[in-house]
């Protein structure tokens, strides 16, 4: 022990501390959390912090507005007031007399203008600005009209920063025919973060710089978007409502994760797809009461379907892989898309009673086989590993039929049993699988299904083994997203005129894609805009404490 005697006291203290530290590291090794586990924790923490930051920023903004220094001649223009929506802004000013205000941001290269009008005469004007172009000075035209018809007009310049990171070079190509045949609106994407919307020229016009999971809910009633942050399959997840400006307004918590999809029930509650951390995943449907934040209903799909049935892509833990849900209006039922059963299922909710199954007929047990729909018509093909069903309006004016648009991935159409090695062959697609957007019509009385329309059959370049979308737009065209398998990190968006199957618009994108929605940037709800409303935060205190202090 002679070396100890040779050490000075500070050296001794440091050595002892270093020894303790090493012992601590050794014994805490079993508690080391991997990065995969840490990312949801960091993301939940940053979301909770953003809610706090939002409150501070709003308080400052209200103070600035109340200074009385902003007028038509000298308006307050705040780019990205909450620090998360860099292509949005807020304009405030007072006018000497009540005026009605509108703004216009001209499009580029023949693209649509962004136009917004307040619907009332007022002396105080708070205007959200959406759809700014990145990396340039935007020239916004502001117009005012008094009750006597007197008009004013001025230009407001709003410089924005260039997009960075993975958003820099996403656009690969755009081709379009006659612009008059394209449905107006902006293309909001489902994928991981950041969430974006792009215009008809493929230019990004909205970004939300907050960590999100893939599932998205667009509330067309108020223009708000719903996202999830945290764990995907199971575990803590935060479900939150946000405006395009980046203001978070409602926040809920669940311990069941949210994978793939969620929706509003007709009672106003949220119904979500999640899992418990058990022997199976992606097979739980649950409901959150939006007034209390409590989980008020859970349905384990193992109790209503057969987890032993084998289908393309299924394996014991992920036997069902629920990837979409749609609420059937006027009925207590849901349409569920189960990728790993290659089936679309109409199920009573909350009863859990299976009403019908649209899926290939092999392997169902007797009780479920009786629920299978019978195909009619010559060209009929079953969907395989499908995504994104959309319930269409009453297409044929027959109350007993339901029309569905579905993205049929076709993974497993010809080659039913994949193992891990074979999945690598998807790039080459030796089985000549193809993906389609398909319009099915279900006759619920006759218990039959027919195929009304399809696009993509036989085009092997568009084969998308996972993900994809097809939506009918207001003008009758079909907007689709193909997550093409033979070119990794490439998505193809097509707008198709269904009467001729002509592609009227096409964008190629340098990232994986899941779903796409064509939506306006503004709605009538934006005409009444306020600041400082409290956030309906239903995250339990102990959960907030866990993430903010941990």
């Amino acid at each position: 022990m002679g070396f100890l005697q040779k050490m000075s006291f500070p050296q001794l203290v440091k050595s002892v501390l270093a020894l303790f530290f090493l012992v601590f590291l050794f014994f805490s090794g079993s508690q080391v959390v991997s990065e995969d586990e840490m990312v949801p924790i960091w993301n939940i923490r940053s979301l909770i912090q953003q809610i706090q930051v939002q409150g501070q920023k709003e308080a400052f903004l209200l103070e600035e507005i109340s200074s009385g220094g902003y007028s038509w001649e000298n308006p307050l223009v705040v780019l990205d007031p909450y620090g998360v929506s860099p292509l949005s802004a807020l304009i405030f000013f007072s006018s000497e007399q009540p005026i009605r205000v509108s703004l216009q941001l001209p499009g580029k290269n023949g693209g649509q203008d962004v136009v917004f009008s307040s619907n009332a005469f007022s002396e105080e004007h708070l205007l959200p600005v959406f759809g700014l172009f990145p990396g340039e000075t935007n020239h916004l035209l502001l117009q005012g009209i008094s009750q006597s018809g007197e008009k004013w007009e001025k230009e407001i310049q709003i410089p924005t920063e260039s997009l960075s990171g993975k958003l820099e070079n996403l656009l690969l190509s755009v081709s379009q025919g006659d612009p008059s045949r394209i449905q107006e609106g902006f293309n909001f994407l489902f994928e991981d973060d950041p969430k974006v919307a792009f215009d008809e020229n493929g230019e990004i016009r909205w970004v939300l710089a907050l960590p999100t999971l893939q599932p998205v809910l667009y509330d067309t009633r108020n223009g708000k978007k719903w996202f999830c942050t945290g764990n995907y399959h199971f575990g803590d997840v935060i479900i939150w409502e946000v405006s395009l400006l980046g203001r978070i307004s409602r926040v809920y918590y669940s311990p069941y994760g949210v994978h793939h999809d969620f929706a509003f029930l007709e009672n106003g509650n949220l119904v979500l797809l999640g899992s418990e951390n058990g022997p199976t995943i992606e097979d739980l449907v649950y409901e959150i009461d939006v007034d209390t934040g409590e989980i008020v209903f859970e349905l384990d799909m193992k109790t209503v379907l057969d987890p032993a049935r084998e289908a393309p892509g299924s394996f014991p833990r992920d036997w069902l892989h629920l990837n979409a849900l749609e609420v059937v209006s006027g009925e207590n039922s849901l349409i569920l898309s189960a990728r790993h059963q290659s089936a679309l299922i109409k199920m009573g909710y909350p009863s859990g009673e299976i009403e019908w199954i649209l899926g290939f007929p092999e392997g169902w047990d007797n009780s479920l086989a009786s629920k299978l729909l019978t195909p009619t018509g010559d060209d009929f093909e079953w969907p395989f590993t499908q995504h994104s069903p959309q319930i269409l309006p009453d297409w044929d004016r027959k109350p007993n039929t339901m029309d569905l648009m579905v993205f049929d991935n076709g993974y497993g159409r010809f080659h039913r049993h994949f193992d891990e090695r074979e999945e690598k062959k998807l790039l080459e697609n030796p089985w000549r699988e193809y993906s389609r957007v398909v319009h099915y019509r279900v006759d619920e009385q006759e218990r039959t299904v027919e195929q009304v329309w399809q696009f993509g059959k036989g085009d092997l370049e568009l084969f998308s083994d996972s993900r994809g979308d097809g939506n009918v737009l207001e003008n009758g065209n079909v907007l689709s997203a193909f997550n093409v398998s033979n070119r990794p990190y490439t998505g193809v968006f097509l707008e198709i005129a269904p009467e001729s199957n002509e592609v009227v618009w096409q964008v190629e994108w340098g990232n994986d894609v899941y779903c796409i929605e064509r939506l306006p940037l503004y709605g009538s709800f934006d005409a009444v805009f306020s600041l400082g409303d409290p956030v309906d935060n239903f995250i339990p205190e102990e959960v907030i404490g866990k993430y903010v202090q941990e």
């Binding site: 501390l17 805490s28 400052f60 109340s66 902003y70 993975k166 764990n231 994978h259």
Partner: protein
Amino acid sequence: MFKSKAWGRTTCLLFLLVFLWGCGSEDAEKKEGISSFFWDVHIERWETTPLLKSTQSSVQYNGVVQTVQHEQTPSEGMVFLLLDLVVEKKQAGASVFSWGDVFVEDSEGHRFSRHPNDSFLDSSDRQRMKGTSLNFGKNEGFVCFEIPEGSAKGSLRLVVLLEQQEHSLEIK
């Protein structure tokens, strides 16, 4: 060994604090600032570096975490000067804080503007101050300047033009 992660972390933190207390410098950091009628500006901390490295992670569609590495280097013979700034509007009213009026000045009087696109800071572990004008509230974050290696070895000042008057602050 430890009943909870919190206990273990507290112990670890305690040891580290003792260690830092024993080894720390005697000089407590004082934050000087620039002040005008509308604005207060001060430097929280600063650093120079020849390379910015970072890792960004996000949760993918299937729940898998994807990690992307980023690296950013300055031009030949230059280094990055990173300033963690607080820019606070202390008086509401029509005054704008413009980055065109902010410079770093070296000991020979050469002035350098903020990097024209330091958005790469977003992907580093630092919170970046947005690059467009500020007109309300308390704004915090890093900004980046590219300065010659030689300048970085001498004294540096932050120069800000506020309400038509030049203010400066030693970067130390």
